[in-house]
Amino acid sequence: MSWMVWTLPTAIFFSSIAAMLAGMTVWEIYSPTVERKGFLPISTTRGDRLFVSLLSAAFIHLGVVGFTSLSILVASAISVLWLLVLMRWG
């Protein structure tokens, strides 16, 4: 595995993605998702909303890192908030 040059932050990143996917699977088994229409222009399932929030989180991080001098934690905080909003009302 040394060729993959793991670092602690990236390991945490991928573990949390894996944990999210596992969590979504368990959630799906216990209460299957119902497609609904929120404030997004399309009707979405739970998985769609997670995908949208992860993709937007990526762009939020790029924006903060690339074009502001704010800490990356600010981007992460905004992303978590956005994820919660999206999962609830998206």
């Binding site: 060729w3 993959m4 670092t7 790029l62 690339g66």
Partner: protein, 295 residues
């Protein structure tokens, strides 16, 4: 309403594919992410750099210009190829041997490997031995793709139109063929003009294939590499250097693994976003299909 019991064990059948994709795509992609936050000098010498590469890449003027150039290129070829493809599909013969002959002729450019297309056009546009370059020179037009950025752009766009419009035309042709004759009969009874038939029958029926055509053409033109690389090598200067060529120069030419990993991720995210938007649009259109879908 929906009392179907889903048997999720079928997912196990996807497992071999998942293993394969993990091996060929997911694990390499994770490695790229790891590289993007480090300065990797060798197998046991790497330094953690955090988000520095991302900041450098996003603020690199050369890459920003290449990105703008890339968008401009994709939009230009879409604006030409989509209407042209529809037009060609409309005038293609509908049946008989002519239909097959035209189909074969029109498909030929699609069968040529990409770097060969580049070579063909490279020779075709040369002033000394190329037919197009020579003819333009003989009638007194200053034309040189190695010296003049405008000529290089014009040639790359012309080459892409030549290479890929047939794909759009074929998709549209198949879309047009699937319109039932009854629609045209009804239009004739109403004495609809040719334009009205196109606007209210043919174009709405083409929406689905057009979305696919736009998606395919956008994706490919956004990742274009071989043709401009062979034709102009990105020049003159860097006037036709597109994103994938910048990436290849950085990763393979200069061995800047960290920055090029960061750049790949940004590139990947843009492509992922665009594909997702297109995919959602397609799926959405099919879901919300009303019997009298107007536009």
């Amino acid at each position: 309403m929906n009392n179907k019991v889903y048997n999720n064990r079928a997912w196990l059948l996807v497992l071999p594919m998942l293993v394969l994709v993990a091996f060929s795509a997911i694990i390499p992609l994770m490695t790229v992410v790891n590289y993007s936050v480090q300065d990797v000098l060798g197998p046991h010498a790497s330094f953690f750099t955090g988000t520095e590469w991302f900041r450098t890449m996003l603020n690199d003027p050369a890459l920003q210009t290449a990105f703008g150039r890339q968008i401009l290129f994709s939009l230009t070829i879409l604006a030409i190829q989509i209407p042209l493809g529809i037009g060609i599909a409309l005038i293609m013969p509908k049946q008989g041997w002519q239909a097959s002959a035209v189909l074969i002729l029109i498909t030929l450019p699609l069968l040529i490997p990409w770097n060969v297309v580049g070579s063909i056009w490279q020779i075709f546009t040369r002033g000394d031995i190329g037919l197009m370059g020579w003819s333009l020179r003989e009638i007194g037009i200053e034309y040189n793709i190695t010296r003049n950025a405008g000529d290089a752009w014009f040639t790359i766009i012309l080459m892409d139109v030549w290479h890929w419009t047939p794909l759009v035309a074929m998709l549209c042709y198949s879309g047009l063929r699937s319109i039932p004759e009854a629609y045209y009969q009804a239009a004739r009874i109403d004495r609809a003009s040719k334009w009205a038939v196109f606007r209210y029958i043919q174009l709405p029926k083409l929406t689905n294939v057009l979305v696919i055509a736009v998606l395919l053409r956008f994706m490919h033109s956004f990742m274009i590499y071989a043709e401009p690389f062979v034709l102009t090598g990105g020049g003159p200067g860097s006037s036709t250097t597109f994103l994938s060529q910048s990436l290849a120069t950085m990763a393979i030419g200069q061995q800047d693994l960290g920055p090029s990993a960061a750049f790949s991720i940004i590139y990947f995210l843009v492509i992922l976003l665009v594909s997702w938007v297109f995919y959602t649009t397609i799926m959405h259109m099919q879901k919300d299909k009303t019997p009298q879908g107007g536009a």
